[in-house]
Symmetry: C2
Subunit: 633 residues, 2 copies
């Protein structure tokens, strides 16, 4: 094969074109009507029959000839002989003659000779003669639905490309369609590699650097969102032969193979080798951020052999390994191609416009796919803020609502600048409430009773900074407030904090002095945390009492600098035997069955941006907070 | 039981309250993560572990102590001994000492003693000593993602009620969640009754008044759209014992039983009897149009017995029989309750606003649920028009985009009056092009190449009227234009029309004179059709030739008044042996293998509303028409 050299990064447009050039269509399959909802019709369907298939009575009453009723009214009814009856589901066994009527039920076949019907409410029966008295006049066709009036045989029923909704199921039912030709879902194989990856549910050995495989299930869900069928292949590790076997198997069984992620160079080598042996590499490296190391190519069947053949085999896209990068590249480049192959339209409400909540600097020569969250300001206008925990973070996307594409050459997105957000899906509903701050068990319970809140556990100090920047609606701050903030305090409660130790060592620790004076391994929280602030104050007090320098006191605590961001992580380190004493809450001790040495109580304050008090989400929060505050009093 | 008497119709609000009072929740079930997309989380999930679970190198390079690099730069590198290496998936087997570094790959565990790392690009190896030369200085924490920095153990991960998107699958994967508690889908049993109903795919005996069962599959699709699980029960006919058995079985197995539609009084009797024996009727009759005959009640389990018990058994709603009525009532009253029980939010883009395209009269004391179609005017503003083929029509909904609720006491909706349309689903995309007019095979093929057109086969004459009313973008008119219209002709082609006969009778018919002079059973088209107009002109010419009155000529044709609306229906009647001669197109004769006697050619004109020429759909149509016109030239 003619392996191409890629000296420069391809443009995003070239990447799109390369992917669009790959044949992903999976053909046509027939599905039963009962399973057709959401599928895409592969060809036009014309009506094969009239609906209704016969002239049909629209009401209960009498079938007759309209001209027999001319001039009839309440006072001077037409008098007709009832010569038979027809029920729905019966074939009429009578033909209408002069001065005659036939009793008929809704939906029944109009008997031969009848051209109209009169509803039973406008008639009486003459008890003596049994004749029907018709107290109104009707015109030919009145109260009759003629054959084909609903749908006519030969009429265009549904066009190719129609995505079947319940309405269409109704039309197809009426036409008696049992099964229909729909676009087959493209099969998308997902191969993830890397010795360090463990499928969710498996046992994780963190000390060996194992992490859960995020990309496989996430991309599979994205594939299904885009109308594809996801096929997960077993996790290959970095064994080259096994990887090669998997790639070839996936290429045979699927329309597109997506690989993501080994961080080892050997995985890339294997992919190159397979593509070289059996396919074509179209593109390597794209000028986007994230997503630079993207590969686009084709894997041919063993049988079809020669490179350049488009029959058999499968398309191939190599996604970056970091989950956020992988998903951004998947959504931007791959999902549209899958949707197109599945025949699904671009979702209607795919984009919304909002203003940047704060300035964002960007000065790089690549298109940036910036994940953003959305909220609303006090006037209900959409605000957009970047969401990024760094490229290694797996979960930034969980707090993002969509993507803003930042053009290369942009230096800054200014505060208030309007930007277009491509939502992850039309179902995305920006949160009703955006809160940031301290992890707190009471708060977490409160949030459960709100509809669609978003809460980012950034710690107390960063929460105050973000509140000043005007992004969140509320900040939740624990411990002493170190500076004034321009915010409304919606609620305040107390929580007990202290030291957490294993129950069998509970006798060993009775207070802060043990931590300072004895040889115990401690786990601290980061300075972001309100717990850390309270600990600092307590240590300063102890230093004052002893007349020593606070710094010396701190130096004597083994692990004081071993600070973790996570609310429960110190306690979990104690549980695991990696430390003796952890900083934490009484609540956490209860939950994890640890012993607790109280060092005091600290306030937790819910502070609101004064401009956002009118938001529904903030008002709902206030209501929930009130009920709790009342309970506490 | 205390059967209630319903003298008055209940208000729509009372009907909503009655349905809301029925317990539809199906509880909680656990699903594997791979199947969680779209499901609704039943309870809050907190992180059970730190992500990452260890301090993690963000790049390939060297782990070291930051302080060893202080002051280092390109010119004066720090020189450190490389004492080992750590790869992703390995446990470090080395502890950092003074003046030492450890080679580390992206994603690997930071070795004990290291507090930062330097990317390989900023280093060199001294070939002689093997030492690494670090050409930059780093701060503690640089290029390291600390344990819990992504998600911290104990952190609130997802709140109850979260509908799982691919983003959430990513977060749950990172947390190693194997399965999760989600709201179980409420099971909705669907029982349809009526001797005249045949399941799609079955053989239809139209002469007996049989019709395909539209409601079962349509409501099932609506149930699934709303997040329920549809359970279709076999079709019961009007056998009372069988129906009773089915209703009881459904009540035992489902959370809600929906019955729809027998038109026979006996079905309603059975339902009353079952509810009387075993449940409670909450409501009978609602002041809505359509939907008056709605029933709301509860069916208890055989075991649970007494009326008024909410345990066991199922809720019950009786829908009207006519498909359009059934779906309108289902969408308005039942679907929200199912969605609520499934924990799904009301779709975000459920309503849009548009202006009425024409005046609509309504003067009734009931809330009207008016199915409407949508299009856009020349300025792209949404226009709304009522869609109604009469209450017996099964298919009006297929041409509708949503519902306008018209309050009782409204006399008129004026042309241009703004109305709120509740869309059938957020996926509803109003058509890009709204066309009305004659059924024509050439046109039907052309429409196949447009994206999302809507074409209503109303015939030529009604098409011109609607074009004048300003609703459609284009009208397609066949035959001579009988009056001037203010429209732009986009294209015109000819089609051949004439008489269709069975091949074995082809010798019997050679022209219009046979139809007039011989004893043949004819099937005509309605006066809406351009074919009928052309036939009328041809007969008038023949009458002139013969010097007779056109009326006498027409009288001598048996079946001249047997006019059907449907494009192919006349030909199909000939095929079925119900008639000898049909009015039709040469195209239809070809398709159905009938013999064709040409009576001439007639023009088909595509006429556009001049104000709509700028619409994308109209421009696309013009492009397609141009290609066809060129081919024809």
């Amino acid at each position: 094969m003619n392996r191409k050299e890629f000296r420069d990064l391809a443009s995003p447009e070239a990447a799109r074109e390369a992917i669009d050039s790959l044949p992903l269509e999976a053909g046509v399959e027939r599905v039963p009507l009962a399973e057709a909802r959401g599928r895409v019709l592969a060809e036009r369907l014309d009506a094969e029959l009239d609906v209704p298939g016969f002239d049909r009575a629209s009401l209960d009453g009498y079938a007759l000839r309209a001209r027999e009723t001319f001039g009839a009214d309440e006072a001077a009814p037409a008098r007709l002989e009832v010569i038979g009856e027809v029920h729905a589901g019966d074939a009429p066994d009578v033909t209408l003659e002069d001065r005659a009527a036939v009793e008929i039920s809704t939906g029944a076949v109009m008997p031969s000779g009848a051209d109209a019907m009169v509803p039973v409410e406008r008639t009486d029966i003459d008890d003596e003669t049994g004749e029907v008295l018709v107290r109104t006049s009707v015109a030919p066709g009145d109260n009759v639905m003629f054959a084909g009036a609903d749908v006519a045989a030969g009429e265009r029923a549904l066009g190719p490309g129609t995505q079947i909704t319940p309405r269409d199921v109704g039309l197809l039912s009426a036409l008696g369609v049992e099964e229909l030709p729909v676009r087959a879902s493209p099969r998308i194989g997902i191969v993830s590699t890397g010795d360090e990856l463990v499928r969710p549910g498996g046992d994780l050995e963190s000390h060996r650097g194992e992490i859960y495989d995020v990309n496989s299930y996430t991309i599979a869900a994205g594939v299904e969102d885009a109308g594809g069928e996801a096929v997960l292949y077993p996790h290959a590790g970095d064994d080259q032969d096994e990887m090669e076997r998997l790639l070839r198997e996936a290429a045979e069984e699927c329309d597109l193979v997506l690989s993501s992620g080994s961080t080892s160079a050997s995985a890339v080598d294997v992919i190159y080798r397979v593509i070289e042996a059996q396919g074509e590499l179209l593109l390597h490296g794209v000028a986007v951020k994230p997503g630079k190391p993207m590969l686009v190519g084709r894997l041919d069947d063993d049988e079809s052999g020669s490179a350049g053949s488009t029959s058999g085999g499968s398309a191939y896209v190599g996604l970056p390994g970091y989950p956020v990068s992988a998903m951004m590249v998947f959504r931007t480049f791959v999902a549209p191609a899958i949707r197109d192959a599945a025949g699904l339209p671009e979702p209607e409400t795919a984009t919304v416009t909002g203003r940047m909540a704060r300035q964002e600097r960007y000065a790089e020569g690549r298109l940036r796919l910036m994940p953003v969250g959305m909220t609303t300001d006090g006037d209900g206008e959409p605000l957009v803020y970047p969401v990024d925990k760094g490229s290694g973070a797996t979960t930034s996307l969980a707090h993002a609502d969509g993507v803003v594409e930042v053009e290369p050459g942009t230096d800054y997105l200014e505060t208030g600048e309007p930007v277009t957000v491509r939502l992850f899906s039309p179902d995305v509903r920006p949160p009703t409430l955006l809160g940031v701050g301290e992890d707190d068990p009471t708060l977490s319970r409160l949030l459960d009773s709100l509809e669609n809140p978003r809460y980012l556990s950034v710690g107390s100090r960063p929460a105050l900074r973000r509140l000043r920047d005007g992004i969140p609606d509320v900040a939740v701050v624990a411990g002493p407030l170190e500076r004034d903030v321009d915010a409304d305090e919606l609620a305040r409660w107390e929580r007990e904090w202290g030291l957490l130790v294993r129950p069998d060592e509970a006798d060993e620790v009775s207070g802060l002095t043990d931590l300072v004076d004895r040889d115990l391994r401690f786990v601290n929280r980061t300075t972001d945390s309100g717990l850390r602030t309270s600990l600092g104050v307590a240590l300063a007090d102890l230093a004052d009492d002893r007349g020593v320098d606070r710094h010396d006191l701190v130096e004597s605590i083994e692990g004081f600098d071993l600070a973790v961001r996570a609310h429960e992580s110190p306690a979990r380190k104690v549980l695991a035997g990696d430390a003796d004493v952890a900083l934490g809450l009484s609540d956490t001790a209860d939950r994890l069955d640890l012993a607790f040495v109280s060092l005091g109580h600290q306030p937790v304050r819910v502070l609101a941006n004064p401009d956002r008090r009118g938001k529904v989400g903030v008002r709902d929060l206030e209501r929930v907070l009130d009920s709790v505050t009342e309970l506490a009093e």
